[in-house]
Each structure stands twice: as structure tokens, then as C-alpha cells.
Symmetry: C2
């Protein structure tokens, strides 16, 4: 395998744009999608960055995602936007929706957007962070294809259903909490089976409907939301906000863009952004959040931890490193992107 190669973010971005434009995505839209995916790669969320492009390209080529969607926007209040994404690329719809919510917040102090007929959108935290970079607290909820059984059930109804919250943090990088509300993934369970390891308790039920730590039993059973009833409740709330409230699919009916055939995936997103200055002077807020973080940093670290950090702190460090030195990619990842048409990923040989 060897060491991963560092690919400059601007070159990776160009490659992503080329790949999408070659499938009929308008350049301006392709650049927004590339921005969202690269933002995930820069933050170290490698599974939700350019790694998604292969599936997106396949869906575009097979007509399961629209390359040139016509977004329909409507408003019942000046702060509340509904965006029909016309089965376009999820990152395009999501970044447009958060930009709209932030624009409302610039005028009214608050903005929200409900997105329907969207698709897989990558990393929720990327859109929440857009708000924090504009002096707003940002909240993002999105539903996804059913993988987890609600607390007390033995059949899936809930997806990974990510929930992200970002808050400005003064001189520190924004706090970005970005979490799946499902516990483990079946992929991790299969890995545990291969490695001969048990899975953590709370991840899955066996086929008998009882909790199991045996990966083989888990694969015959069902995955769970995180943290029992609490996580299950949060995951359900995410489905209600992003699906029931917006008008998108919900309750286990969102499909995966990797496998859908007969109809659109139907993902829904919910975005909220409000100015901290709606409640407190921005300078005072900055001083207070910095104090909060300083108090956190001053705590003694537990066994196995170098330091006490806040959500998004590690990602911000990774981003600084990757922005300066490039995004690490394996040769296999690079070859895939080049094969998809991303040759601009590599600087010219004579550079």
C-alpha cells in the first residue's frame, strides 16, 4: 500500500468538478458539490468526502440522480424556506439550503430550510459549520435509508439520521458536533466478524430480538440507534424534522442512492441557523465561549486521552494540516478518481 499521497485541495476540487461536469452537472453546481465534499475530506471525514463520488457518478449515469435539477423554492414566512431539490445531488441541495437559511438569518436573525426530494448529502457537519462561520448557531438534521430498529423494536425504521450542531467559538475553531444517531454500521460488524472480535453491547439485536455482542448474530438481527431510548428518540426526532415536517420521505421509506431503482431516494434535510447576536453582543459571546473552551481544556485528561478537546477541535487541526499539505489519498483512491475523469487531481508531470 505505501504511504498515502498528499493531494492539494484545489486540485482535488478541480478533479471533482471535472468528474461531475462530465456527467452533465453544470459547472457552478459541480463546484458547490465539490466544495462540500472537499470540506469533509479536509476535516478528516474521509468516508463522506470524495469517497462518495463513485456512487454519485453511478447514480447520475443511471439517471437515478438528476444532473440538472430545477430547484423549487417557496416560503410561508420570510425565515422559513422549503426547497424541492428535484432529485438533484444532495450536497448541492444541502449547501443551497443552508446558504438560504443563513441569508434569512442575516436579515431576520434566524432562518430555516426544509429540503425535500434530495439525496445523500455527505457530512452534516459541513453544512452546520457554514452557519458557525457566519456568526450563527447552525443545526442540521437529515434522514436516510432504514438501518436501525427503534428502541424496543426488532425491525429497522431509522437511518443513520445524522444530527449536527455548530457554534461559533471566538478565537477557537467553531465547535462542530456531527453524529450519526445510529450506533454502529453493518460494515463495522462484518469487520468485527472477520477479525474475530465481539461488537460493543448496544449496537445490535440478534435474530431472537435480544441484545448481542456476537457479530454473526448481529448480522442475522438488526442494528440499533446509539444509546438506547435516548438515541432512538433523537433519531426519530431527526426523521420527523427532516422528513415528516418538510414533506420528504420518512419512517423507513427513504431509499439509499447506492441501491434505489424504482424511485427517487426521497431524502429530507432540515437546516436551522440563527445569529448569536440575536441574544447577546457578538464580542461578549466570543469571550464567553472562549472561557467555556478554556475551562474544558483546563480539565485533567482521562486515561487514554492526551488532552480534553471539544467536538470539531480535532477536525479543525486536521483541516489546517490538510489545507497546508494536501489531503492524503491512497493510490487506489487516486486511481479511482482518475478513472472517473479526475485526472487534474495530479499536477502535470513537469510541474
Amino acid at each position: 500500500m505505501g504511504e498515502p499521497t498528499r493531494i492539494r485541495a484545489d486540485l482535488a476540487r478541480n478533479a471533482a468538478i471535472d468528474i461531475l461536469v462530465a456527467r452533465g452537472v453544470p459547472a457552478v453546481d459541480a463546484s458547490k458539490v465539490a466544495d462540500a465534499l472537499i470540506a469533509a475530506d479536509l476535516r478528516g471525514i474521509d468516508t463522506h468526502g470524495l469517497a462518495c463520488l463513485g456512487d454519485y457518478v453511478l447514480a447520475l449515469e443511471e439517471g437515478r440522480i438528476a444532473a440538472t435539477p430545477k430547484f423549487q423554492v417557496s416560503q410561508r414566512f420570510p425565515w422559513a424556506t422549503r426547497l424541492d431539490a428535484d432529485n438533484g445531488l444532495g450536497p448541492l441541495a444541502a449547501s443551497e439550503a443552508m446558504a438560504t437559511a443563513i441569508a434569512s438569518a442575516e436579515t431576520f436573525g434566524i432562518g430555516a430550510a426544509g429540503v425535500v426530494r434530495s439525496n445523500h448529502f455527505g457530512a452534516a457537519g459541513v453544512y452546520a459549520a457554514m452557519a458557525a462561520e457566519r456568526g450563527c448557531i447552525g443545526i442540521v438534521a437529515a434522514n436516510a435509508s432504514a438501518v436501525a430498529a427503534p428502541h424496543g423494536a426488532t425491525r429497522p425504521l431509522l437511518g443513520t439520521n445524522p444530527l449536527a450542531v455548530a457554534v461559533p467559538a471566538g478565537r477557537f475553531a467553531p465547535l462542530v458536533l456531527d453524529m450519526a444517531t445510529s450506533e454502529g454500521s453493518r460494515k463495522k460488524v462484518r469487520k468485527a466478524l472477520e477479525d474475530g472480535r465481539e461488537i460493543p453491547s448496544g449496537w445490535a439485536l440478534g435474530p431472537d430480538g435480544r441484545p448481542t455482542t456476537d457479530p454473526a448474530e448481529a448480522l442475522k438481527g438488526v442494528m440499533l440507534p446509539f444509546a438506547g431510548a435516548k438515541g432512538s428518540g433523537l433519531s426519530l426526532v431527526v426523521d420527523i424534522l427532516s422528513g415528516v415536517l418538510t414533506g420528504a420521505e420518512f419512517g423507513g421509506r427513504v431509499l439509499s442512492v447506492m441501491t434505489n431503482q424504482d424511485r427517487e431516494s426521497g431524502n429530507g434535510h432540515f437546516m436551522l441557523a440563527f445569529k448569536v447576536s440575536a441574544f447577546i453582543d457578538e464580542a461578549e459571546y466570543s469571550g464567553r465561549i472562549e472561557t467555556e473552551i478554556e475551562r474544558l481544556h483546563a480539565l485533567p485528561a482521562a486515561a487514554g486521552f492526551d488532552a480534553v478537546t471539544y467536538p470539531g477541535e480535532r477536525s479543525a487541526r486536521i483541516r489546517a494540516d490538510r489545507a497546508a499539505f494536501g489531503i492524503p489519498m491512497t493510490e487506489a483512491r487516486i486511481a479511482t478518481l482518475v478513472a472517473l475523469g479526475g485526472g487534474r487531481l495530479r499536477p502535470p508531470v513537469d510541474a
Copy 2:
């Protein structure tokens, strides 16, 4: 001990009002506090209902909570209210704040309130449910005295920091998710020690900063937020919304009203309410949320569960029962309330 006696909710309410009025709380304020506490008792949250009155009374008598606070209200946007509770009773401040947020939502589709200089407010779900009963999605966050170490730390910074979300549910009772973002309580750990049981993994660190299931070690160490990094992140976000953003105490500086002496507790609350009709017709929403719940109910139940339920469903059943047949109270609880001045709890002997 014997069977608990059922006390009619209106009599319990009268008793609570009498108890508070006798400590100088104006009748109109006392009735609001009584409403909030009785609402918790009716929903089966016995620890956050009239059980709180003893501590409130002591704090009122000792002047640690103001009996006749002068609330100061200000707004930077018509939807955003800041309420300085002047160290008054928490349930009074919280119900006033949510009522204000709902009133804003009636006009603008959305309303929020940040509360400072408050105190322990009882059950977060009670205030979130106020929003759901008015066609709004309600979110409540509140901070509390430090009991739990953030993920990766060995000293407390975070409180129980409750987070509640309530959503209207059509012909079903509102969904009310009401959760502490700390995992267990030291009270439960002491009980486990008495009973000779281990505590669940994830509840606490021992004095060596390592996870422990030994209650004796846990009592020498520190409690944790729920669900590792995810719950810790949520708990921190609750502190930021309710404390940093509002202008209240935060970062481990909120005091417990049971123990504070030198200064106010300084609790902060954050409340958000927005109309579902800001995004979708109310009738369409009702049909969709009913479908969501029907799909949930149709799932097969896991081992140990009678049925699959949504958050707040069980509480709604308890409320129906208790509203009809009274709130069960032990003789000790009744005696305490009578001793505090709540004699109206019992119907006259000749009734």
C-alpha cells in the same frame, strides 16, 4: 408502606399554591409554578413534580430564591426574547419564557427565549410540551450544577443538562423526548453499592481516570455524560445554548439550589418554538406524523417489550390515568406536603 394514595390533581395543585403563597410568592406566580410541577407529576416524572417543593420552600425561606422577582424582558428581534428571571423560581421563569416563545411563534412562525438568573425548573419536557400543544415544535435546553466530566476528562464540568424536544402528533399525544444528557446519577450509584450491584459501563470513571463498573470506585471518581463523545458533545451544546448564549452561568459554574449559599444558582434556559405550519399545512403534517407513529407501532417488539412506543407515549397514558384517578403519593410524601402547608391536598373529612 402500603399502597400510595391517589390525590386529585386539582387538590395537589391547590396545596402547592398554598405552600408557595405562604412563602410570599404571589398567587398568580404560585399557580404557574404549581401547574408546571403538577404537569410533571401527571406525566409520571415523580422526581420533578411536587417532590421539588421542599427544596424550593427551603430556598425561598432562606432567601436563596426570590419570592417576588421582577422579570426583565428584552428583545433584539421580535422572535427572540431574553428574560432575566431575577433569581425567581425556575418553573415560573421557564413557563413564562416558553409562553413568550409560543406567542412570538403565533405571530412570526417562530419564537425563542433565553433565560438568565433562573433556578432549577423541574422537568424540561413540560415546557417543550407546551409548544407541541400549540401546533409548534418545541425545544428546551437547560444547564445545571456540574456533575459529569466531559468525554476524555476526569473532573466534572457538565450538569444533568436536560434536552427536551416535543412535536405535535395529530390524533396521538404529542411526542415528548425529555432526556438528561448525563448518564446515571450518584444517587443511583450509591443505590447500586447498597444493593451490591455493578453499575452499567459508561456511567463513571474511577479515581484512576479509567472506566469502572464498580460503584465504590465510581463514587471516588466522576460521573459521565451519556453515550461517550456523542452525549458529552450534546451536553456541552446544551450548556452553550442555555448558558453561554443567554448570558447565564455556564462551564461548571451553575450552582445547585439545594446547596448554594454565597450566590445565586445562575441557571440558564433556552427555549425554541416554531409552527409546523411554517413548513407544511397542519392537516398534512398531522396525517404524516400519524403515519410515522403507525409505522413505529407496527414494528415487532423486541424481547422484554410489550409494544414499540414513541417518546412520551407512556407518559401520556400515565397522564390520562392520573388526571382521571389522581396522582399516587406515599403517606410520607403527603405528610411532607401537609407539613409544608399543603393541607388542601386532602379533601375535607366530611367530603
